[in-house]
């Protein structure tokens, strides 16, 4: 066990630090910055281009595909150093590099890899994920959007249906899409995976107004959307395997989210208690913040253990869901606590109090963190079943042809 870098890692970290120090500040955003979606998307693209130009995009992808061909630790080191800057990234870029590219790299043809990987690393192609549907969230394989072969002999597919919760779908160039191609099979078996150009006729995105006030999520309606067979990823009927590749990447990536307790400690220290001290002098507050800090540290070090497993070629499986399960609830709880610290001024702060604005936003946002990427309840089931070996949930729809299911 060693938290110190090897000499090679230290050299790589120093190189990354120097490059970031020279290039990242120009792309940084001030805390509490809110901007129109289109501007945020443009800034994300600009940062992706900067990364690519500097040779920091796709560190683990083969050189032949525009990456840097490194083995793994370097990507973690770069992400840690990059994480020290407040850069315009978020879901907009991570869906492309963290979810679309891994599934293309694993299940795609050579032509698909050439077509998509390097342009995505360059920031020329951005991605959204078209998975969830109104009645298929945690039970993703219950999806109904269907694709049938066109009757003109072209081999093209005609897609009809509706997707939902598709972050940035109105601003991105391509989507990763899973649809039902054979309703006569049980629900997991009749699915097929595609990449789809979001400018294809028949695709309509409608931003959803969220409780945070933002609208990064969409409903996406697909009406007679024609997708060439060349954009199918993996074999017909093997869409579920592609989905699992995406979800494992999402889960391992989601644990890396920084949801610092430190800013909340600073926030308590900056909040007067009306008796000449600050709210950080309050024993109950101290205790709650310290417990949260201990949990946060545990999450990060558990993530380090998972990365060690991955680096040894082991599959963490359902362990990968533990970090997100822990941090989403902790994040909600501590931001809820922070919202109480300033009393009524925490509800309606004076203009310019960006720290309270951040706390308010994070409290709202924490709700979706407990749902997206595997709801708390789904993750608990997976941990109980796959880590502890407890019995699986009753599945009424197992082995039943999808078209015979009720509902």
């Amino acid at each position: 066990m060693d938290f110190n870098d090897s000499p090679a890692e230290a050299a790589f970290r120093a190189e990354a630090r120097d490059w970031l120090a020279a290039h990242a500040p120009a792309h940084e955003l001030a805390a509490g910055t809110k901007m129109p979606d289109t501007e945020e998307a443009d800034r994300g693209r600009a940062w992706m281009r900067e990364l690519y130009a500097g040779g920091w995009s796709g560190l683990t992808f083969p050189k032949a595909l525009g990456g840097r061909g490194l083995s793994g630790p370097e990507a973690v080191i770069f992400a840690e150093e990059e994480g020290k800057y407040h850069l315009p990234k978020g879901p907009f870029t991570s869906i492309g590099t963290g979810m679309a590219l891994p599934v293309i790299a694993k299940h795609g043809t050579e032509a698909q890899k050439q077509r998509f990987i390097e342009p995505t690393l360059k920031g020329d192609i951005t991605w959204c994920q078209l998975f969830s549907e109104p009645a298929a969230g945690s039970d993703l394989a219950a999806l109904r959007t269907k694709a049938v072969r066109a009757d003109d002999g072209s081999g093209d597919w005609i897609v009809n249906g509706q997707k939902v919760w598709s972050s940035w779908a109105h601003l991105t160039d391509w989507g990763i899409l899973v649809v039902r191609t054979d309703p006569a099979l049980p629900k997991h078996k009749g699915l097929t995976f595609f990449v789809v150009d979001m400018k294809t006729p028949g695709i309509e995105t409608r931003p959803i107004r969220q409780i945070s006030g933002a609208s990064e999520f969409n409903e996406t309606f697909l009406t007679d959307v024609r997708i060439p067979d060349a954009n199918r990823l993996g074999a017909e009927g093997e869409g579920w395997a592609c989905c699992m590749t995406v979800l494992m990447g999402e889960r391992l990536g989601s644990g890396a989210h920084r949801s610092g307790v430190e800013p909340l400690i600073d926030y308590a220290a900056a909040t007067p208690d009306g008796q000449g001290g600050t709210m950080l002098d309050d024993r109950a507050i101290r205790q709650q913040l310290a417990e949260a800090l201990a949990e946060e540290q545990g999450e990060r070090f558990f993530q380090a253990r998972l990365r060690t497993m991955v680096s040894k070629g082991e599959n963490p499986g359902a362990l990968a869901g533990m970090v997100k399960l822990a941090y989403a609830s902790r994040y909600q709880k501590t931001n809820g606590l922070a919202l109480e610290l300033r009393g009524l001024a925490g509800i309606a702060p004076e203009a310019g109090d960006t720290a309270t604005g951040d706390v308010q936003y994070d409290y709202i946002y924490s709700t979706v963190m407990r749902i997206a990427g595997g709801a708390d309840e789904v993750l608990r089931n997976q941990i109980a079943e796959r880590v502890l070996g407890m019995p699986g949930e009753v599945r009424m729809d197992k082995d039943v042809p999808f078209e015979s299911l009720k509902g």
Binding site: R283, I383, L388, P391
Partner: protein, 373 residues
């Protein structure tokens, strides 16, 4: 490391193969010698400890694991000690390992004179002598300093003191914050056994009346000592929590309710999933604490406090829910839940309660975190 670096995720954040093997050896020994039936026998006989087990631990070299080779130990590190503590926690072993090795021997190593080290460390490593660390003086400050050492004479009282009935020597926290080394088998020391909530860890009141004692030269080592011990306590807690989790799972798999295994109910699955998560987070913090104790002393205060807090948190959940999953049978002496249920409360207050460690964690953070009033 600077503030941003502490969370660095090294790619070899795991125990070494040798450390894993050491842990397996300890577990194997404990499963042979420290069964739950054995624990019940010890309680029923009013035993203060499992002496044969202590001898076996000594024979395996476990007692001297972290004691320097120059003093008869193996000279291993905090992580090696941690895997042994984890195994002791899993077994709920009735031995004074925390008192004699983690606290007593380490206090002497950190703060003792050369003569004190030479006199005591080899005996502690071999198990020939047992030590303890006396810090509390009833309700009040966790680390109390009402006992005085003047002219080689110790006066005052410490209570409770773990394992003081079997200890040959105590390191005593005294007025001024220094340590005194006192042999307990002398006329100036009165030992009164207390009724301990943890029936497998005897506690005593110690009254010193002009007891002969030696000052220890290494003043100011208290923080280092208790930070290191907090990391080891976190390993012990994680090991005990893992054992509770496994016990609850196994019982739930076996027990049929309304025509199916108890383990099939989401209420039970989700409860145990939460315990599993808390246990892995605590173990991760303990690993980091062990690494910091060995390799990065500046990081130790924060690492130790975090490990301590999450260790107790996971064991509290695990011990309570283990008994709950067992239902009424869990309330019986014949079931095994009570060992951990009692041990957890003892560990939760030993070396400082939640509030004490919360303060230490916040105070160890860089930046603007003021101290509690």
């Amino acid at each position: 490391m600077d503030r941003n670096d502490w969370a660095r995720a090294a790619m070899n954040f795991d125990l070494s193969d040798e450390q894993k093997m050491l842990g397996e050896q300890a577990r194997a020994l404990l499963s042979d010698l420290s069964s739950f039936d054995r624990l019940r026998v010890l309680i029923d006989s009013g035993a203060e400890w499992d002496e044969p087990l202590w001898r076996a631990l000594a024979d395996m070299g476990f007692l001297g694991a972290a004691i320097p080779e120059a003093y008869g130990g193996l000279g291993l590190g905090a992580l090696d000690l941690g895997v042994i503590m984890e195994a002791l926690g899993a077994a709920n072993a009735a031995v004074p390992f925390m008192s004699s090795i983690v606290l007593g021997a380490e206090a002497i190593r950190l703060a003792g004179s050369e003569a004190q080290k030479a006199a005591w460390l080899p005996k502690l490593a071999s198990g020939e002598a047992v030590a303890t660390f006396a810090y509390a003086e009833g309700p009040g400050p966790v680390f109390a300093t009402g006992v005085t050492l003047e002219g080689g004479r110790l006066n005052g009282s410490k209570s409770p003191v773990a394992d003081a009935g079997i200890a040959d020597v105590a390191v005593v926290l005294v007025a001024g914050g220094g340590f005194a080394l006192v042999e307990l088998g002398q006329p100036g020391v009165a030992r009164t056994r207390l009724d301990s909530f943890d029936q497998l860890r005897a506690h005593y009141r110690l009254d010193f009346a002009e007891a002969a004692a030696e000052a220890m030269p290494g003043a100011g080592k208290l923080d280092r000592l208790i930070d290191q011990a907090a990391v080891q306590a976190a390993f012990e807690a994680a090991g005990a929590a893992e054992a509770c989790l496994k016990m609850a799972r196994d019982y739930a798999m076996e027990r049929q309710m309304f025509g199916r295994p108890l383990a099939g109910y989401q209420a039970i699955k989700h409860k145990l999933a939460d315990v599993a998560v808390a246990t892995e987070l605590a173990r991760s913090n303990a690993y980091y604490g062990g690494w910091a104790a060995e390799s990065s002393p500046d990081d130790l205060p924060a690492a130790a406090a975090a490990a301590r807090l999450s260790g107790i948190k996971c064991l509290e959940m695990a011990a309570r829910e283990n008994l709950q999953v067992h239902g009424g049978i869990g309330y019986t002496f014949e079931a095994n839940c009570h060992f951990y249920y009692r041990r957890e409360r003892m560990l939760a207050v030993h070396l400082g309660n939640r509030g004490f460690w919360a303060d230490r964690l916040l105070n160890a953070q860089p930046g603007s975190q003021g101290k509690a009033a």
